[in-house]
Symmetry: C2
Subunit: 366 residues, 2 copies
DNA sequence: ATGAAAGCGCTAACAA
DNA sequence: TTGTTAGCGCTTTCAT
């Protein structure tokens, strides 16, 4: 017979049945709120449950029902303000459901993909939300093949039936760029996100479309790829500002890179917004704590998490019902980091010294 | 007979046994790497597993073993840079173990306490890490009573046997305050954290001890309670700066409040560090992105998460072995937000206008 | 070295 | 309305 190592709380359905003087099937009925239980019996059973502090064994339930009552969240990494907000939204929705949340990260290790897929298909979760994990395509392929329910955040997937929640990246980028154009800027640099992600590509397209709409020539020189880190924002800005004909405005594909631009501008003795206008993307809380406050495109991250969770839960409840991806609006918030282009440049750019100053100051950062 | 709703992947141990021509007990032995299996048999079973893509049903395992192979993380909320880093550390350790991570938040809702305790005792997790959830004392009481393993982060608990990981808050605060004193500051304001948390109290004590060591009178006027939000930093600073004899330096109990101080100082036209020195606590990534870079006390959050996970895992493996709480060092990083006190005040403080300016600018923040 | 079999705690079909 | 019973897929004794 199996070795006992049961959970601390050990009253089982049988103990309750004995105490209440009924069969344990009846207890099960009471626990699951079934119809056919005499009111008096129900009361008696409830009392017995109360007395014993009965708590249904979750794993037995899971085994017999074939469901885990958990959903998984697969993310690349946990740092940064972006993930936390989406998680908060997901958690919000789950709090009102019977589902719990499991967290999986992909990290550096590519070989974990297979393990996760196995875990899920072995009954660890009933469905999955994927937020831009590396190796997304591999995951999705396995998931589809197993008919395992999933929802993507910030990516539209690869098949028309893929479920996703994404912001209106194109529109947001278009609005941001147009805002700069309307302020009179003509040389607008862009620091992109990781370019093989849907969101990054869409923002680039929006930027280009706005330029085109205003008959501004797209100059490839003004276009640098970043990776959503602050450092890549610093480096991107330094590169842009050292051009022979530097931009008077920069659109960074996320706020964290915009913080990097702020730092680079400061190192180059450029004032934002007087000498350089700057727009970010995301509107993380910190965007309104910087000096100057950052003009940025808000991506409603908490809401996106919420929608993703709802979409997944609905899929679990009713797999047949036809659902589709959701695009949420991305809204430009004009704060203090943008100003009219001042014709000539407001200050001479000395990027060489700026970069040196930055490197020196940066050495304080351990 | 029970309705079928098994996981997508449906090869069971019996299928494997049939294919390999052995009993399913033998398959179990192979799966669990037991000794007594003939090499040839093992090979045959392995091949059958491979062929069928067999994956042990986790919930059956959980039921029979009485363990969930999951640990829970209970936090108050998910936003902000603090939690993400600790989670990353925990995840790091779990990645090399057989455990998965479940996430629970307490949010606003106090009534969820009971639910969580139930979930845990019903076998959802094998152990718990608690990061300053509201209602901590209630949780701990239930947990102890059920002999459920747990580790606290950033709190020392209530019993000598409580396991915890915490930074050397007292020392960190002492060093921060001493740094300011050595720069010649004598009126040093402090914005505290939520004062019923251990970490906040310890930082206050360190601040007071440093003042005392330097024979500086502790002035209750210079002491305001914050709640770790940026807004409370703004308000605390505004209050301090409007004193008849305002501080020349402020020690904020976390970086986020220090960002608020930065904002308030800017609104009051005070330069940091020339007119006001500022020290934070935590050293979140953003602390080195502000202008000026923030002098702060680093709390090794990722490492703390890692240690907490290791402590819990060791407890699960060997419940008897005597373990104890861990205090990690908190180190002062001097960057750009502190400077020598300049005798007289460098600028006149106009807090009334400053506050007005701040309120107006703040209205941009939706 | 291997097989047979007894549960783990529960759900749900079937009978009464 | 209630009880009886057959599993869910697995681990682990106990025989062989």
């Amino acid at each position: 017979m199996a070795r006992r190592a049961k959970p601390a709380n050990n009253a089982t359905i049988i103990d309750v049945a004995n105490l209440a003087g009924v069969s344990y099937a009846t207890v099960s009925r009471v626990v699951n709120n079934k119809e056919n239980v005499a009111p008096a019996t129900r009361v008696r059973v409830l009392a017995a449950m109360e007395e014993l502090g009965y708590q249904a064994n979750l794993n037995a339930r899971r085994l017999v029902s074939g469901r885990s009552y958990a959903i998984g969240l697969l993310v690349h990494n946990l740092m940064g303000p972006y993930i936390g907000e989406i998680m908060a939204g997901i958690d919000d929705v789950l709090a009102t459901s019977n589902y719990e949340l499991m967290l999986f990260t992909t990290h550096q290790r590519r070989e974990r993909e297979a393990r996760y897929i196995d875990l899920m298909s072995s009954g660890m979760t009933d469905g999955l939300i994927l937020i831009l994990p590396r190796g997304l395509e591999t995951y999705i392929r396995s998931l589809r093949q197993r008919h395992f329910p999933y929802v993507l955040v910030d990516h539209r997937g690869f098949e028309p039936t893929d479920l996703y929640v994404i912001a209106a990246n194109w529109q947001g980028a278009y609005d941001a760029t147009q805002h700069l154009l309307q302020l009179g800027h003509r040389r607008i640099g862009m620091i992109t996100g990781v370019i093989d992600m849907d969101n990054a590509r869409e923002r680039v397209a929006g930027y280009q479309a706005a330029l085109e709409a205003h008959q501004v020539h797209f100059d490839a020189e003004l276009f640098v790829e970043g990776d959503y880190t602050q450092l890549s924002g610093v480096n991107g800005a330094l590169k842009l500002l050292s051009l022979a004909d530097p931009p008077t405005a920069i659109f960074a594909s996320n706020d964290v890179m915009a913080f990097g631009v702020l730092e680079a501008a400061h190192a180059c003795k450029l004032r934002v917004p007087q000498d350089l206008s700057l727009v970010g993307f995301d509107d993380v809380p910190m965007a309104s704590w910087t000096q100057p406050r950052l003009t940025t495109v808000r991506q409603p991250l908490v809401e996106m998490g919420r929608l993703a969770a709802e979409l997944l839960l609905r899929t679990l409840e009713d797999p047949e019902h036809q659902k589709q991806g959701i695009v949420v609006p991305a809204e430009l918030f004009v704060r203090q980091s943008t100003a009219p282009a001042n014709g000539g440049r407001g200050a001479t750019v000395d990027v060489v010294n700026g970069a040196a100053a930055w490197a020196e100051a940066g050495s304080n950062v351990v």
